[in-house]
């Protein structure tokens, strides 16, 4: 059904999206909690910085990543020398680019669902002897689950579609950084590939739809469990 090349592209895209979301999620939950439940000096600045990838051109994000995390970059050189981790021109770099671009979407969705939780319920938990950490783990996190789920799916879909930051940061290397959008872009440079492009477009749509259906199903179940309304 799918050609070996198409399978490779899809698997690479899924792997990039998966890691982008997996690593980003705990950070996004922490950031969302900080923004929703605490106040500290410079909160507005942090809030603005977190949203930056949403508003600046992706190519700028990619270039910034290249400067910071590239082999000669400030952080990249350090990581390479000390831990032997490199993000330059490999799929991990693609995951970083996707993750950074998707991060604000995740934070927004999770923050909204944390803000929707009645703080008085958390206070009640404190009076029952629960530490702030236990309140977070047993009350806040479960009640924020619908937002966490939808934020995750949104971020995953955004990762699959990431183009500008990825191509700027890690280039367009077949089998390494050539995800679905980059593969479509590459094919468009070659005449007579309309059929192949159409197949990739359909695959993209199918993956996106599947993700939406799964997320809808899960968040309905979770919401039903919390509010108790039948699904």
């Amino acid at each position: 059904m799918l050609s070996p090349l198409e399978v490779e592209i899809v698997l690479l895209s899924l792997r990039v999206g998966f890691w982008a979301v997996l690593v980003g999620l705990p950070l996004a939950i922490a950031a969302a909690w900080l923004l929703a439940r605490t106040s500290f000096p410079g909160k507005a600045v942090v809030d603005g910085l977190l949203h930056l990838p949403l508003v600046v051109p992706p190519v700028i994000v990619g270039y910034t990543l290249l400067v910071l995390l590239g082999r000669q970059g400030v952080i990249g050189a350090f990581l390479d020398n000390v831990f032997g981790i490199s993000f330059a021109f490999n799929w991990k770099g693609a995951a970083v680019a996707s993750g950074v671009m998707a991060f604000p979407l995740m934070v927004r969705a999770i923050r909204l669902s944390i803000e929707a939780i009645d703080r008085r319920i958390e206070t009640a938990a404190r009076t029952l002897g629960a530490s702030p950490l236990r309140v977070f783990a047993t009350i806040t996190l479960p009640l924020a689950l619908p937002g966490i789920l939808s934020g995750t799916v949104l971020a995953f879909a955004r990762s699959l579609g990431e183009f500008g930051a990825t191509i700027t940061f890690v280039s367009n290397i077949p089998g390494e950084t050539r995800t679905l959008p980059l593969a479509v872009f590459s094919l468009m440079q070659v005449p007579g590939t309309e059929a192949a492009i159409l197949r990739l477009v359909l695959i993209s749509i199918a993956i996106a739809l599947a993700a939406l259906v799964v997320s809808e199903y899960l968040s309905r179940r979770v919401a039903a469990r919390i509010r108790g309304t039948p699904p």
Partner: protein, 360 residues
């Protein structure tokens, strides 16, 4: 033993209270805005006073001079809020057991005791949204009790319920107050709840304590009339069952001033009772009447005349203990009633409020 002495400025309102409360149920009473909730929030650690000191069972939980402020989870204080505040994603059983982990070393009361006491057995596997308002509040009470606190705070736990639900929960609260040896601070602006539940009454007005003492003594004070909306509550008396009259279905209750005959109540001779006499059910005679159907005619002395409210005035009569009688201004002047005058108080009806704690 709870010692509270705190000050807190909240906008134009200044809370400045100091009181000590011991075992049993201490009611904080006052109109809304008197500062009741602020006080319990300070005791629970949900509000930080500007200055002062709070001590629970000898443990200082707040002290402004030595900068002590224990967070709520380390105070061992249970809190039943006006709203149930149940955890919507947890079953009743898991709501109830949420606070149990801090209770090691305090085996009483057991999970089963509390379930029995509050009638929660049929609800255990349900989620909070499948409960009625009254059921939710019972679960909230059980949850707070099962965290085995040193002290239980209740902030108008019945305020958000309709009359029927209130009537449903009050008996549970009475049993709880009677059967658990747990000091309770009960906030309310409903004097009927206080006369049924409380032992000690602290009256608050605009952030200050204006009166504090045993419920019977405070409810009989005329000077508090502007603050205490007695409504149907009347005065509270404490007595013990002296004898039962099975022929006429009556019970004789002895109290400090004498005896009262009331419709038969259950309970052994010697059991303590709390009685309530409404001011409007008390009439005054200047001579001992004869040929009268009223069973309870008690000799007494007028101790104080209340300030007039249109046609009626409340009069305090000491029949051994002070009770209030609501008379017309006209009767008072025609009979020449004044403090020191020997009279007979004719008590038309007596409500038996509850069998008292000391009965156990």
């Amino acid at each position: 033993m709870i010692r509270v002495a705190i000050q807190k400025k909240l906008g134009a309102f200044t809370l400045d209270v100091s009181f000590v409360s011991g075992a049993g149920v201490t009611a904080l009473y006052g109109v809304s805005g008197a500062g009741k909730t602020s006080i319990v929030n300070a005791i629970a650690g949900l509000m930080r006073p500007d200055a002062g000191h709070i001590e629970l069972d000898g443990i200082t939980v707040f002290d402004s001079t030595s900068r002590i402020f224990l967070p709520p989870e380390r105070r061992g204080v249970g809190y039943v809020f006006q709203e149930d505040r149940l955890f919507p994603h947890l079953s009743v059983r898991r709501n109830l057991s949420y606070g149990q982990r801090r209770s090691e070393g305090h085996p009483q009361p057991s999970f089963d005791d509390v379930i029995d006491l509050l009638g929660l057995a049929p609800l255990l596997e349900r989620l909070p949204h499948r409960l009625s308002g009254g059921e939710k509040q019972r679960v909230a009470i059980g949850r707070a009790v099962l965290s085995r606190p040193r002290l239980l705070l209740m902030d108008e736990p019945l305020a958000n319920l309709d009359t029927a639900r209130r009537a449903e929960i009050l008996p549970f609260l009475e049993r709880l107050c009677r059967d658990l040896s747990l000091p309770i601070v009960y906030v309310s602006h409903a004097i009927e709840e206080i006369t049924r539940l409380a032992d000690t009454l602290i009256v608050l007005d605009r952030g200050k304590v204006v009166a504090a003492g045993p419920v019977p003594a405070i409810t009989a004070r005329l000077d508090l009339s502007p603050l205490i909306d007695r409504g149907d509550a009347g005065t509270v008396l404490v007595g013990t069952i002296e004898s039962h009259d099975t022929r006429y279905h009556l019970t004789t209750v002895a109290f400090d001033g004498g005896r009262l005959v009331v419709p038969a109540v259950g309970g052994p001779v010697g059991a303590a009772l709390r009685l309530r006499i409404q001011a409007r059910d008390v009439a005054i005679a200047t001579s001992v009447p004869t040929g009268i159907s009223t069973l309870n005619c008690l000799p007494g002395v007028i101790t104080e005349l209340g300030t007039g409210r249109q046609a009626h005035r409340d009069v305090q009569v000491n029949v051994g203990v002070p009770i209030l009688a609501r008379l017309t201004q006209r009767s008072i002047s025609e009979l020449g009633l004044e403090p020191g005058r020997q009279v007979t108080a004719l008590i038309k009806s007596v409500a038996v409020e509850r069998t008292d704690r000391s009965a156990d």
